[in-house]
Symmetry: C2
């Protein structure tokens, strides 16, 4: 049996099955990688941190106009946009309407850039149907993040969506992430996060070739072990920027054999680059700087790999 | 150091610290247990499953009126009400407005019955601040459910809320829940779910005495081990009714030393007891039947414990 898998060649030859007329997440992502784009722009806008020029608009208009400004300034440098649902949810329906309008805007103006909604959902299968409907149908995401704790059986409503990307939490970037994730499990006594990486890459979880992993930039060594355990899976890597992860170490450990396979996320360091009237252009400059650093870093890593292997 | 803990005596002598003028979750819950109420009514309404008499109202009015009917019919038998956020989220802002109105209704008409919003959230600490704001401040929950995967450090915005209940997923009721939860971990080679039960009951996670556990009715033996590992923690036990868990086995294994400590949830078997015009009264009858079965079952279990110990 040939298992469908995420295209990691950067050539777009096998972006995975597509179940709707719209282009699949895998196909969109591979085309961004072909353009040497690896930066994921985290749209984590908060209603109480809007620039002063937008704060009079109220949460729905304010959050939407802020996102629109950030998107227009950063789109040329973005491999993907990643709103975290929490920041919209805390403002109630107006915040969530702003998120939906952000998705509509992205799909109509930048249909080539995938939208990854960071929701970290995970419930029983029957309940996950409702969460998958919310994230994919209501908010129009191309991909999302999920909790592994209830197992593959519970995640079927996500995993069955061949056209959508499903990033499974593996080793998170927070200081206390290791409390459970580093426990050694099973007869092999390997850390839980590596066990999850192997499961996620295996035929039960990844039967549609649409699975990726979330692995924090703040633990580059562990990132390297995850890459070894799941050589073909796209990695969503948060934790550079404000959280302090080291770009060079992240690329060395996270890039796949073809010099792609990573979505490296920065949120606050881009969207709050300036709180003055230049907030949008400052976000664009920071995104450009990071995107260039990632492309040049990737080239250095691949050059070094060619030399030493 | 005396660690504050959940009151399990059923006497309400130490319901935990209260940080606001409103009564804490722990105090409300203990008073329901004092009334021999153990049934948690799951308000998992779906806009596409509303009774025909309500389906013309649209999702916001329809979901709210359905919940209001279920609440009024079942309140005398309910230890708590538990809406699962997923079912509201899938309808977008109208669904979420219905949830907020349901919370407002409950607080004004039945302030003695705690509202447990089943959200299963779990993200970085800074992001969990936003989720805690949503669930506690925006939707007005007295308690919620959380994912353990990112560790206690990430859960601080929930765990620090002494006035709110925080139910940590431990052993979930779904058929595939054991895929990760039954992995043996650490030097003691105990299953992950038991390791989590011990952590949750310990001084780092439960420093405010507000932690509970989610343990499925479909695995009564494992429920018994969880009760041993966490003798003083309230257990939220889903999986009776539609999922088929056995009431007697659940009570035998889940009740604490004082014959309390459990919130046994039924959702679909109550709220969809009838799809005809008698949907509300049918829900009331089913809730009454279950509440009686739980009270009588509790009495039998405690009688048997008295005889055999």
């Amino acid at each position: 049996m040939t298992q469908p898998r995420f295209d990691q060649s950067g050539k777009g030859s096998n972006p995975g099955p597509v179940t709707s007329a719209e282009e699949s997440f895998g196909s969109k992502l591979v085309r961004r990688w072909e353009g040497s784009l690896f930066l994921c722009v985290g749209l984590d806008a908060q209603a109480d941190r809007l620039p002063s020029g937008l704060s009079h608009l109220g949460p729905e208009e304010g959050l939407f106009e802020f996102n629109r400004g950030i998107i227009e300034a950063t789109a040329p440098y973005a491999a993907a946009f990643k709103p975290n649902l929490a920041f919209y949810e805390q403002s109630g329906p107006p915040g969530l309407t702003a998120l939906r309008r952000t998705g509509d805007w992205l799909r109509s103006r930048h249909p080539q850039i995938p939208i990854l909604i960071d929701a970290k959902r995970g419930d029983l299968a029957s309940t996950n149907e409702a969460y998958a409907t919310a994230v994919f149908s209501y908010y129009g995401a191309d991909a999302t993040t999920v909790q592994p704790f209830l197992g593959a059986e519970s995640l079927a409503p996500f995993l069955n969506r061949a056209d959508k990307g499903v990033f499974v939490l593996c080793r998170t970037s927070n200081p206390g992430g290791g409390e459970l994730q580093n426990l050694s499990v099973g007869p092999a006594a390997e850390p839980l996060y590596l066990h999850i990486a192997r499961l996620a890459a295996g035929p039960e979880w990844n039967r549609q070739g649409n699975v990726g992993l979330v692995a924090g930039a703040t633990y580059p060594q562990e990132l390297g072990l995850i890459r070894e355990a799941a050589p073909g899976l796209p990695l969503l890597i948060p934790g550079i920027g404000t959280q302090g992860g080291d770009l060079e170490a992240v690329l060395t450990n996270g890039l796949d054999a073809d010099g792609a396979g990573v979505l490296i996320n920065a949120s606050r360091s881009i969207i709050y680059a300036s709180s003055g009237p230049d907030w949008a252009s400052a976000a664009g400059l920071e995104a450009a700087r990071l995107a260039t650093a990632l492309r040049e870093g990737r080239d250095r890593v691949m050059e070094a790999r060619r030399k030493y292997t």
